[in-house]
């Protein structure tokens, strides 16, 4: 069963997202979307990523999504680097990754997490309502049963990320609430 699922992910990454959306879960789509985001975003210190051995994705307290990511990226590279998916529960372990996924359960820790991430040039992705307005760079949401995302463009710019307008064209742009 596990093997079958992995094959399914592989196909998912090769073939367009929309053609398989009926068969895959939202988590699967989100997992695939992560790699797609990295195509349109340059990290403030892109050279560091290039020099690194792996591209590290850290998941805070969301085992399901962690498993999905592990499965999806077992053989898939991001920015031509092998993907290292980690799961943490302690905020101290945030550092060292390039992309941090914040599950909806972390709403209360959101400020602290974004603060740490902002210091370490980590792109923050979340899947909770209003999370982008609260400080994550990109936040998934569902609209008409379709996984969409919103981008805090201002925050991305402040954090030193360079985002392609192409990505912004399909994203819902939000601003951080003060």
């Amino acid at each position: 069963m596990f093997i079958l699922k992995r094959i399914l992910y592989l196909i998912l990454l090769i073939i367009p997202v929309f053609s398989l959306k009926a068969q895959v879960s939202y988590n699967d789509v989100k997992a695939v979307f992560i790699e797609r985001f990295t195509r349109f975003i340059d990290w403030p210190d892109e050279q560091t990523i290039k020099n690194a051995d792996n591209f590290i994705i850290t998941v805070i307290d969301d085992a399901d999504f962690y498993n999905t990511l592990t499965s999806v990226y077992e053989n898939v590279k991001i920015k031509n680097k092998k993907v290292d998916v980690r799961q943490i529960s302690d905020l101290k372990d945030i550092k060292g990754c390039q992309l941090l996924f914040i599950g909806s359960s972390q709403k209360k820790n959101l400020d602290a997490i974004t603060k740490i991430a902002g210091e370490k040039d980590i792109l923050t992705l979340s899947a909770g309502e209003g999370f982008a307005k609260q400080g994550t760079h990109i936040n998934f949401f569902l609209k008409n049963n379709q996984v969409r995302f919103e981008v805090n463009e201002e925050l991305l710019k402040e954090s030193g990320f360079k985002v392609s307008y192409l990505l912004l064209n399909v994203a819902r742009i939000v601003k951080k609430e003060k």
């Binding site: 367009p16 997202v17 929309f18 195509r39 399909v170």
Partner: protein, 622 residues
Amino acid sequence: MIRFENLSIKNKLIVLIVLTSVLVSVIALSFFSYLDVRSFKDELEQQGEINAHLIGNYCITPLTFGYADDARKILEELNTIPSIHNAFVYTEDNKLFAQYHKSPELAMDLPAIENKKSFYRNNYLHVFHEITFQGIKYGTVYFRISTSKIDEKITSMLYILIFLAVIVTIFSFIIAQKLQGIISKPLLHLSQLTKRVSEKDDYSIRIKQTGKDEIAHLQKGFNKMLEKLETRKDERDKAEQALRDSEEKYRQIVETAQEGIWIIDKKANTAFTNSRLVEMFGYSREEMLGKEFFTFMDDRYHMDAKKMLTNGKTLIPATNEFCFSKKNGDDIWVLMSTNPLYDDHKNYNGTLAMVADITDRKNNLKELEKYKNNLEKLVKQRTKKLREAQKELIRNEKMATLGKLTATVSHELRNPLGTIRSSFYTVQTRTKDKNLNIDRSLERIDRNISRCDNIIEDLLDYSRTKDLLFVEADIDSWFIEFFRDYQIPQNIELQTKLRSNAKTRIDLERFRRCIINLIDNACQAINGLDGEISHKNGIIKIITYVEKEHLLIDISDSGPGIAKENIDKIFEPLFSTKSFGFGLGLSVVRQVMDLHKGKISVKSQTDKGTTFSLKLPVSHYD
């Protein structure tokens, strides 16, 4: 239809200038229009590709995240560009992702992706653009762009072109009208002068030279040509005058020639005749020209003429006499000398014939021939008459001799003969019935006395010139009466066929003498010359009949006939084959026949007999 070459030089120049201007303008404008349209098309293509690129770029993220609605919204933005009728976005694996149609009427099916980026087909510009980002293919965008703008552009260009062509035509016509004079005026002047030269034959005209261009060269050349023409004209005039004089001289010679001159072409048709020839033949010149030579010829001479003119051409010069027919049907004899004529390539081209009328000469010759023949006949007649005269002379000479003899015989022989006869009569009377066996001798004496008496009688008859006493006598009755007295020897059979039934005027005594002479001769011919009665049987035939108003009496015997060498001499006096007599019997017959205006002729065949024919004019015929 007016042809270009028939136009005046002025109009030609105008037409050429206008045509050139319009042509150059149209070519130039067409070229620029073509470039403009081409550039417009390139621009359209470029814009199409740019738009495809932009739309493709905008579709990268919808394709990345599968947001087809986003892509559709992006495509709908194309409604601001009316020329784009259709647009499609394909996924990476060439499946439909999003589509756009300007209007439902213009909707179309998803076209298959082609390798070419853009191309024109079926009045549309088709643009395919591959959507890539950072080296990754996301899909393809396709535009179908209407080219109606290009058509509009071409149409407007065409209108401009026509408008400009009209403008150029008008302007170039006005300019050509003004400028053509530079070239046409000197040429027209030259043309007018040429016309004047040709019409008036005036080569003294010269044209005024203007400038130094080709027209000036032409003017100079024209003047030089006129100078030469003037010189040549003078020479030609002189030569023509000489030729005319010569022609006139020859014409006079030809027309006044005593001989006819006849030229026929290579098909033997008349090509030329002089006055003398038409006068000879009685035709007009028009009637003779074109007619075949042989049609004027008498049929009898066709063969000879054809021999001379084999296949209508004279092979060698020849002189022959021919007979032609005049228009009035009379024969005309001509002496014809013919000479073949040749063209510049030595090919036979006809014949020249000199014709002399020799009809009079021919007629004279005929007349002469006739005279010659008559003369010969006359000479023959005269010779004959001369011979007859000569014979007559001889006869007359013989007659003269006979005359003398007659005198002697009549006076000297008659009396002694009378004495002999009377003495013989006495002897005969006294010895009668005394059986002295001298009867035979006495008979011989009696016969010979009678013969001598006959000779004397003949001589007297022949020399007698007294007038004849003619009486009309029925000859057939006369013969019957005659044979009552005349005794024919017993061994001779007398056969008579008296069928004349005619009367003739005769001297009875003389005629009787003639008949006696002829019958005596016949009897002598049968019985022999000694006069003795032989035992041979013979026949004497007397036939009378009438032929052509003449009474004919044939006296035939069955004797030995007359020798051929003697037959012409038997009527001559003193000719005799007998051992006795003077040879006067037949001469007397002929003399008597002459006096009766009759004739005597003889036919004789050796061993078959002799026939004497007497011919006398008939005085009355029953």
